[in-house]
């Protein structure tokens, strides 16, 4: 009944405590606390403006919070507060341990270099120097995300939305991250491409035992991908629990509206 019951580790990989973000006097999100474990997919749902993306940006190290802490089990330093680390250390940790899949592939890709170079770049930035090995790894990953490797040397601008998104997924997984953030990863795609990409993401998450924090407003995507859901409204978490429990027996008035508003086909 749940989307994906992969093996989940017992010790936390990520600990978020009392996270609050103000934009001046406007609230982004308030007092959000949760933890995540290896192999766990956490879905963040809620309508536009509910603070999902603010939360994702704060947790992923892009937006310093106004209050609260974010601790992550880094490969290099063990459990560390990511905003207490030096800027170079944090950036290096983000490159080594994390991935970030944007809704719009243009935000996550370099549009002026080839698709293959986009996928190989994380290996280079982590010290890879052997061109032949990196090219082979790139081809392997492009096959894994079902990308036509004959077009490896074309630029992303010449790819369809679905192809660009596959390149972005490969680029964010090739270096073996522990935690991947996804912001509406299938949001801009038509439904047939969306279904295929979701299948692919599910498989990769299971095989690589990734932890994933995925923001979506699509309840079907949430059900398919997430083990656990956090429902946000006006910057606060109003309900949290097992995905199927939150969707099938929602407790909070807002979640009840959200779930009952989904159109049936």
């Amino acid at each position: 009944m749940n989307a994906l019951s992969s093996r989940i580790e017992s010790t936390p990989l990520l600990k978020v405590d009392g996270l609050t973000k103000w934009y001046g006097h406007i609230l982004g999100c308030r007092d959000v606390s949760f933890d995540m474990r290896a192999g766990e997919v956490l879905g963040i749902v809620g309508e536009s403006g509910s603070g999902k993306t603010t939360l994702l940006n704060c947790v992923s190290g892009k937006l310093p919070p106004s209050a609260g802490s974010i601790q992550f089990e880094t490969s290099r330093f063990g459990m560390s507060d990511i905003y207490a680390m030096s800027e170079p250390d944090r950036r290096r940790m983000q490159r080594e341990d994390w991935g970030f899949v944007h809704q719009n592939p243009r935000d996550g890709l370099r549009m002026r270099v080839s698709g293959g170079a986009n996928v190989a770049e994380p290996m280079m930035s982590l010290g890879g120097r052997h061109y032949g090995k990196m090219r082979q790894a790139t081809i392997d990953w492009l096959e894994r995300v079902e990308f036509d490797t004959g077009r490896i040397d074309d630029r992303p601008a010449n790819f369809s939305g679905g192809m660009q998104q596959r390149i972005q997924v490969a680029r964010n997984l090739i270096h073996g991250p522990k935690l991947v953030f996804m912001d509406e990863p299938t949001g801009g795609l038509d439904v047939s491409v969306q279904a295929r990409l979701l299948d692919l993401l599910r498989e990769l998450v299971r095989d690589l035992r990734l932890a994933v924090m995925i923001v979506t407003h699509d309840m079907a995507v949430a059900r398919l991908m997430a083990d656990r859901l956090m429902v946000m409204k006006s910057g606060q978490v109003v309900e949290t629990g097992l995905t199927d429990q939150v969707l099938d027996d929602p407790q909070h008035p807002y979640t009840q509206i959200l779930v009952s508003s989904v159109l049936q086909i």
Partner: protein
């Protein structure tokens, strides 16, 4: 064999009331003060008319619905886990290895082949691909699902075929505890008999089951006890 086995499921004082916040906070009470135990090799069949709360009870036991009061303890790795209070990671772990649920409907995952769907629960539990494939193929043949269908996603299958995929997906894991919500609803007599056979095999290896069956033949063939849910109904 004379030693007394502990129950695999202990439900105590369970209550469920739905609150519809967007309909003037209407309260819909379903049941309260409900208790039951199921031991190895037992199949308790929930009895009662439609709307009496059989599925709500089943879903509360699985952790799909959040009960209003009471506890649901499931024997997992030699210790009881209360599904109503365990954290989500623990519930998922119990569902992955101990507690299986067969619903009437196959929740189709787009574009995944039937064989892959049936293998998936084994792969999630670390069974090697080759063995998973063999076991999945054997079960699908036992369920008489035409081999030509195995590589196709089940979205376009008939109701009875989808139902059998669903059953294969659930029985392949050999869960110690199984919840069966009308698994034979859209099957013909021959296929019902095959499912009855699967249920009996599972009981023989010591599984504990709670089932809902509208079909009397199936119910009589597998039930060890009938449990009248209506006795715990709350007067609205």
């Amino acid at each position: 064999m004379s030693e007394i086995h502990p129950p695999l499921i202990i439900v105590e004082g369970l209550a469920k009331t739905f609150v519809l916040h967007n309909a003037d906070s209407a309260q819909i009470p379903v049941f309260k003060g409900l208790s039951l135990e199921v031991g190895p090799g037992e199949c308790i069949v929930l009895a009662g008319a439609s709307g009496v709360g059989k599925s709500s009870l089943m879903r509360s036991i699985y952790g799909n619905y959040l009960p209003t009061a009471g506890s649901v303890r499931v024997l997992h790795d030699g210790a009881y886990v209360d599904i109503t209070t365990a954290d989500p990671h623990q519930v998922l772990e119990v569902r992955r290895r101990t507690l299986g649920y067969v619903s009437q409907f196959l929740r189709v995952i787009p574009r995944i082949s039937t064989l892959q769907l049936v293998m998936e629960p084994l792969l999630e539990n670390g069974v090697a691909v080759e063995e998973a494939r063999e076991r999945a193929e054997r079960l699908l043949s036992d369920l008489k699902l035409p081999q030509a269908h195995w590589d196709l996603p089940p979205a376009t299958f008939s109701g009875g075929e989808q139902q059998r995929v669903n059953i294969a997906r659930s029985f392949i894991r050999e869960y110690p505890v199984m919840l069966l919500d009308e698994p034979t609803a859209s099957l013909d007599a021959e296929n019902r008999a095959i499912v009855v056979q699967l249920i009996r095999q599972a009981l023989a290896r010591g599984a504990a089951m709670i089932g809902i069956f509208h079909d009397e033949d199936v119910r009589d063939a597998v039930a060890t006890t009938l449990f009248p849910v209506a006795d715990f109904r709350v007067a609205a």
